[in-house]
Amino acid sequence: MSTYAQKKGFGATVWDFLTTVDHKKIAILYLLAGGLFFLVGGLEAVFIRIQLAVPNNDFVSAGAFNEIITMHGTTMIFLAAMPILFGFMNAVMPLQIGARDVAFPFLNALGFWLFFFGGVFLNLSWFMGGAPDAGWTSYASLAIHSKGHGIDFYVLGLQISGLGTLIGGINFLVTIINMRAPGMTYMRMPLFTWTTFVASALILFAFPPLTVGLVLMMFDRMFGSNFFVVANGGNTVIWEHLFWIFGHPEVYILVLPAFGIFSEIFSTFSRKRLFGYSSMVFATVLIGFLGFMVWAHHMFTTGLGPVANAIFAVATMAIGVPTGIKIFNWLFTMWGGSVKFTAPMHWAFAFIPSFIMGGVTGVMLAAAAADYQYHDTYFVVAHFHYVIVGGVVFSIFAGVQYWWPKIFGTMLNETLGKLTFWLFFIGFHMTFFIQHFLGLWGMPRRVFTYLPGQGFDTANMISSIGALFMSLGVIVLLINVVVTSVKNVKVGDDPWGDGRTLEWAIPSPPPFYNFKQLPLVRGLDAFWIEKMEGKKGMTPAEPLGDIHMPNASFLPFVIAFGLFIAAFGALYNGEHSWAIPVIVIGLLVTFGSMLVRSVKDDHGFHIHKEELMDDNDKGVKA
């Protein structure tokens, strides 16, 4: 309701964001929190590269190094990459399908706050006796052996934030199935919406195994059970399976939305519809499906036997086929097009060779017998950074530059954007290309130092210098954001001029109800079709009428906060007498607010037809 107010004080703005259920504001929250964690994870990466720049370095201690690598991996995957992509999904997907919000706005806010408090809890470990130190994979034998509370923070923090992710994923699935505008059939959905859909389905099936694993480990560490304690009949290989049944699909949860972002950008700046749209959709679904069939390739050296290794090797190679289809479709989208190299297009264009590098090493790793050499070396480190940085992080930079005007109403500076690109691109290849060789020369991953005289010195120094360039690129982006926000030059509906999908048919930023009248979709690239016929905007599919909107609510914040409190109790269970009461209080807060939500009627409110008509004269609402 309050979004109608024009100028607000700082406090009011904060309260607005704490209670919002608007997908566009939740998107901004995701981008902010994810961006913050991205900086933290990046700082950890810089520490890693400083420590490894020269042999026998003592910049950080061995124990601290293990904490840093663990938190770098965990933060980047769970707290940076995924939330930022969730930010884009929230900001763009409802607009792309012509919806006024997601299906469950209240749950959307709850998902964000759960992720946020889970992430904060995890990072508090730095100040409360030490961070987790068993790697982001947290293999059970080492995790059980680990002293202190680090692993407990990992186990509890990821349960809370994972719950948020699961809720978000389900919400997106329901939204896409139920809330598409008239005429928006499945096969007319923009590719970013499609990849959001498939990634959400992956979340739905991948996060439960992780949660099961985390719960078992929580019981082992905090409540004295023996699921992973071999001496008492437990089994640690089960943890590896549970983790990777989640862990491998997780890679596709990250990279499929990245593919979606690039698909939008290629098509937009080539002024050409996506080449082979239906095979792109098919390839996306196939990758998502095959993603669940290959987890044991992370365990080739665990000793599953040649039959399992051979099957998983061949299944893994098969994923190369749909991915290849996508690469060629992107290339042929540009082929014959009119390609404009804007800053987002820089990222998209450079993504192709970068991601291919990660893809081909992926196929090399799939060859099980050869993987015995690559496994757990810097070759693997190079491989997954090529996939996740060259794919996901590039897409995040591209998406920020591409959708910034739609989210904030102003354009990021193009020159600074390109500068960020060049610094980051050069730094990225400098850091990670050489690491393929380090691995083959015999350097295991996750080593806090290395001895001189093994041929690792020069290559590690090169790699560390590359990290400096990447950091500079990120700093330039931050400057760009500040400069752009200070200048605050507002832009129109379709600032790139080449927009094809529905989000470009409405003001930047969109009014809080998105579409005054739901648009009529007449084909793929709905807005482009109208533009080509010389129309200014979309044809409405409904007469102007009252719009039903949800009320803002503080409850999502409180529900998540209750679990945050309870987590501290679980953490100190058995050590302090106040642990159990704290668990109880936390859970009471959570379930109490859920009860309030259940019994209190909240029908939302209506925007009346008359107010909407007034809007016509006043133009864009901020």
Partner: protein, 352 residues
């Protein structure tokens, strides 16, 4: 443009030198294979690299063409193409064929490397070694020869050597990069695999391969190195014999060493054995066996093999291998005691 061309030349040369010198050290690198297993894996690496370079070339050609030919020159709207069935079939079928070319040798190699039938055969002559990994050290038991050694694996060349791998605390992974890929030492079960050490290439590598732990196992994961001494079958047999000849702890040779032996017997022998025919079960072998400590090439797997470093290690193990299990298990030693201990330990040799 000229400056750009020059830069390209320089970077090309730089990459070339990198590639030519880029095979790593012969005692450590997977790119300098020194045995049948590593050869098989190296062949697979080459095959997959060739196939992938081919794919990359095709993509790069299209990529570069797009970059130069289809830049935006005017405001015309390009033709909106839906796709092409012919092209799509091509770039689906060809990758499938390429992957089949890679998949067949992969599956064959996977089964070949997992073949340990010889281990289970009755009266098999095959050499079997039980590897037991501990927090930051390696224990090697030769069950048929009935000897135990630690930290430095001794193997015969030009024959298959079979390994039983298990960890006794947290998960580690056993890896000798130049000789073959790794296998995890699980806490739950015994893994089996084999390696073969090529005599000629072992000589090129100085007869001593570097081994690594490849699975994160705690603070000193990076320092959990071991060494592999590859000997001809005859030399190996004589090594086994001289090890077996040590029936009881070797007598110290000098007075100082005798003093050291006494200190050792008072403070160290509770964990460290100095006889190779260790009858205890693997779980009771608490610390590295030191029977042939004087013959080894490193102290604690990572320090130089001299008395000074040995004394440093005993003085403060935590400084050199954080999180190790030796720290605080023995009384503080005076400098004289350290001298005596070092003298004694360095004298523990089975080979002249």
């Amino acid at each position: 443009m000229k400056r750009l061309a020059k830069w390209r030349l320089i970077s090309f040369l730089a990459i070339l030198t990198l590639v030519l010198s880029g095979c790593g050290e012969p005692y450590l690198s997977a790119l300098k294979p020194a045995g049948e297993v590593a050869d098989t894996q190296y062949d697979l690496m080459k095959l997959s690299t060739f196939i992938m370079v081919g794919v990359i070339l095709v993509v790069v050609i299209i990529f570069v063409t797009v970059f130069f030919r289809f830049r935006r020159k005017d405001d015309t709207i390009p033709k909106q193409v839906e796709g092409s069935h012919k092209l799509e079939i091509i770039w689906t079928v060809i990758p499938i064929l390429l992957l089949l070319i890679l998949a067949v040798p992969t599956v064959a190699a996977t089964f070949k490397l997992a073949n340990v039938d010889q281990m289970d055969k009755k009266n098999s002559k095959a050499l079997v070694i039980n590897v037991r990994s501990h927090l930051y050290w390696w224990d090697f038991e030769y069950p048929n020869q009935k000897i135990v050694t630690s930290q430095e694996l001794v193997v015969p060349t030009d024959e298959k050597v079979y390994f039983n791998l298990k960890s006794l605390d947290v998960k580690h992974s056993f890896w000798i990069p130049a000789v073959g890929g790794k296998m995890d030492t699980n806490t739950d079960n015994e893994n089996k695999f084999w390696l073969e050490f090529d005599s000629k290439r072992a000589n090129d590598a100085g007869g001593l391969f570097y081994g690594k732990c490849a699975e994160l196992c705690g603070p000193s994961h990076a320092l959990m190195d071991f060494k592999v001494k590859a000997l001809s079958r005859d030399d190996f047999d004589s090594w086994v014999k001289s090890m077996k000849d040590v029936k009881k702890p070797q007598k110290a040779q000098t007075d100082l060493a005798a003093e050291g032996q006494e200190i050792f017997n008072n403070s160290c022998i509770g964990c460290h054995a100095v006889t190779p025919s260790n009858q205890m079960p693997d779980t009771a072998r608490m610390a590295p066996n030191l029977t042939n400590f004087g013959d080894r090439s490193r102290v604690a797997g990572v320090l130089d093999h001299n008395k000074e470093d040995l004394k440093n290690w005993i003085r403060d193990p935590e400084k050199y291998k954080p999180g190790n299990m030796m720290t605080n298990k023995y009384p503080k030693m005076s400098e004289d005691q350290l001298d005596a201990l070092a003298e004694y330990l360095m004298g523990l040799k089975v080979q002249q």
